[in-house]
Each structure stands twice: as C-alpha cells, then as structure tokens.
C-alpha cells in the first residue's frame, strides 16, 4: 500500500489510504493525543493502558493486537474497550497507537 505524507500539528507522518501510520518509529505520545482528538477521544489513564500495551506488543508479535488479545493480556474487559473507543475499538486503538489497521481475512 502506498503511503502519503500528512501533517498532524507540527509533525509530519506517513499514513496509508485510511490514515493509519505506516512507520512504527514516527509515533510519539504527543502525536497519540492529537490523533485521538481527531476521532473525538480525550485520552485518560485507561486509554493509555490499552495504547501502551498495543505499542509494546506489536514489535514482538508482528501484528496489531485484537480486542481479545488486549482484553486477555492487558486485563481490560472487551466491554470497557467499547466504552473507551466507541463504535470500532479495534480500529480506533490501532489508529491512536500508530499501528496498522487490524487484519481482516479476505
């Protein structure tokens, strides 16, 4: 997938056609706050727990964690993830954490 360069605040980042960051190393905590604001989320400690888990899990796992994985390994109930990131929690978490959109199949 081809990446385009966009500016978020005063940072320049590479994103795919749906806006997901394509460079793991371009993400910062400051950027996360700005990305979250774009989708109407204000980050609280609870959001950070999920986001930090996703960031830490990605390099070793090679895939963006699914809701079930976040829930089991980070101990946040799935229901709560829906409250924190309403509607589409898996996608929204990946977006804010600067990771690829969770994989579908076909």
């Amino acid at each position: 997938m081809t990446a385009t360069v966009v500016s978020v605040g005063d940072t320049t980042i590479h994103v795919d056609s749906e806006g997901f960051l394509t460079e793991y190393g371009e993400w910062t905590e400051g950027l996360a706050g700005q990305l979250a604001a774009r989708i109407g989320i204000e980050l609280t400690d609870e959001h950070w727990k999920a986001i930090r888990f996703l960031r830490a899990d990605y390099p070793s796992h090679g895939e963006t964690a699914t809701l079930r994985r976040v829930s089991t390994l980070a101990g946040i109930p799935i229901k709560q993830l829906f409250v924190l990131f309403p509607g589409k929690p898996a996608k929204k978490m990946a977006y804010v954490a600067g990771l690829p959109k969770p994989r579908g199949c076909v």
Partner: protein, 414 residues
Amino acid sequence: MRRLVILGGGTAGTIVANKLRRRLALEDWQITVIDRDREHLYQPGLLFVPFGGREDLRKQRRQLLRNGIQFLIGEVGAVDPEQKSVRLTDGDVVSYDYLVVATGTSSRPDQTPGMLGDEWHRSIHDFYTYDGAFALREALQGFTGGRLVVHVVDQPIKCPVAPLEFTFLVEAFLRGRQMRDQVELVYVTPLDGAFTKPIASRYLGQLLDDRKIAVEADFLVERIDAERKTLVSYDEREIGYDLLVTVPLNMGADFIAASGLGDELNYVPVDKHTLQSVAHPDIFAIGDANDLPTSKAGSVAHFSSDIFVENFRQYVEGVAMTHRFDGHANCFVETGDGKGLLIDFNYDTEPLPGRFPLGRLGPMSLLRETKANHWGKLAFRWIYWHLLLPGRWLPLPARMSMSGKHRPDEEVRP
C-alpha cells in the same frame, strides 16, 4: 533412533507424516501420530450437509497413514518442552526429539454466554461440526420463514469464507423452495464488512446486494439471549432471529494453554516463514494450530507442508533452513446455483482477478462466478483423499504465483 511425534492426525498432521515417512529413513526415524479419535472428517464437505449433501465424509485415520507410521489414539493433556514429552489424559507419556503440533482449531460455543443451552441445535445452529451440520439440515427442512441470521463470533476462524458460502447457498436453497420472500436474510460480522480486502470487496459485495442479503458489520457479540432469540453486542446493539446459524469462537486445543505454548486463543506462535515455534526450536506448529497471519485453511496446511518438510530435513541435519513460506492460500467460494469463485492470495498480495492455475488457460477463474469453479470445489474431495493426504505431488506450487493475475486497474477491456 530419532523420534518425531506429530500431535493431531487431521489434514496437516496426515500430510506431514506421510511426506516425512517417505523422506526419512525407516531405520533411523520413528514417526508417531497421536489423535483423540479414529476417524478423519472431510471438513469442506460439512458446508453441503445442511442442504442435503449425503456422501460419507469420514475415513479411518489409520488407513490414511503410510506403513511405518505409528498411530496412537489418545487425548493430549500437556506437553513438557523441557522434558520433551507429551502426556496423554489417560496418563501415558510419549517422549520426542522433535514435535509437530497439528491439533487444528475447533468451535467453542461455550465461550459465548447463552449460546449453549436448550436452544443449541434447535434455534441456534452451527455447521462447523458433524453433529451441527446434520442438526441444521433438519432445522432448514422445518423452517417456515422469518429472519435467518448467519453470524460469525470473531476472527480468526478456519475457512473464513465458509460463512459467506453458507449464506449464498441458503439463499439459493430458499429460492429453490419458493420461500425466499418469506425470509429476511442477515449476515452479521465482527469485521467492518463482509469482505475486507478492497478488490475482493468490490467484486463480491455486489453478490450480496444482488441477493438482497443485509450485512450488519462491526458487530462483536457479547451474549445471546436465547429466550428472546436475540444477539446482543458489546456496544449493546441487538439483532433478533428466528433461526441463527453461528460460527462460534474458534480456539486451539486446551493442552496448548495448559503447556504454556499458546497465545490468547491457544494458537502456537511460530516464525511465519518456517513454522518453527518462537519459544522452543524443536517444536513446529502446522495447519490451523499456529498463529500465521494467513487463512486457516486446508490449502495453507498443504502449501506450508511443502516448505516445512524441506526445512525439517535441513534442521535435523543441523544446517540453516532455507525455504520460506509466503502465506499462500487458495479457497473456492461457493455462490449457489451450481457456481463458485476462487481466490488465491498470500501474506502480501490480496485476492486478485484473473485465471488459475495456468495464466491464460485457467481452467479456473479468480474472483468470478463460474460453473468450472463449482466443479473444481466438488472435485477437490477426491483430490483430498487420494493425492493431498497421501502427500503425493500436486501441480499447485507452494509459492503463490502472479501468473494469470492482474490488478483491476490493469484490466484490458475487449
């Protein structure tokens, strides 16, 4: 004598055992396959059972394994990677030098509150199991109309296209019985659409629209209210049904969790190119039992076994493994009315239109409904028993080929 133990005598375990038995010297290697039961089930055949498919789908596992392979019946309770031993639930212990985990994945209706209970196999059905597929056949025979919901609990599931195939087939079935007008058909998925990869979505989304099948996307079920015949999601959306056909959560075997070998769904984390366990180099996991980021499908078991067998020989000789699995998967998708389509893809390339397996000649068409694809799917049963499981050569390369494929924007219009 070196000991290779293969857990699971399904598609992957049988192929690997048969291929390795031909390549590893009988006097140097003891190969043992352990499975919990005697009979091998042809799972792709389950799709047709609810609509009256009657062929016998089972064969004795022993008969499918070459001479010189030891077959043990037993339920695996745990693996001890330090002691290199497998404990069966009856207490027996089997030691190994090398272990292949091929115990697949299975439906777990117990994981969704409200799914198992009085309504299980009455108004709530599955077709991923032998008993489930036959119970659903009866339910469809007696179905008089209303809302029929086809539902997937979560990904990954084996054969990710099977629920869609079922939806197409049930639509054609209802039309054939002149009761399509009396039925509202809804496809409920946790994904953001019935198909997620953009090109396949464009080609296939139309099929659902044409058949007036509603899609309810991003629906992650929290529980089933069986009394009110309603699916309830984590974000408190509700979908009522008269007849529910669900694909329960799929999970790897419990012993994988008990042995500390798995991830959150009991799949064994492996290197995606060699299938070697990331935690224990003498353990490999093949087929649905691993966490490869490709489809859980018999075709993946087949293609990856070609790579695995070559690598395994290098590994036991102490040299580097040089073969790399590319995630190649290949699935027929039944679309009803005696037609089907075919998709072919890997880790990096999404399903594309074109011809398969031979560039210009086909005879199969990718992402296009044809009768040839349907006959291909039916013919596959013979190939499965007589060529695939025995580990014989098949003219389908393990690596995905771009020959015959094109991106739709490169399409040349006549």
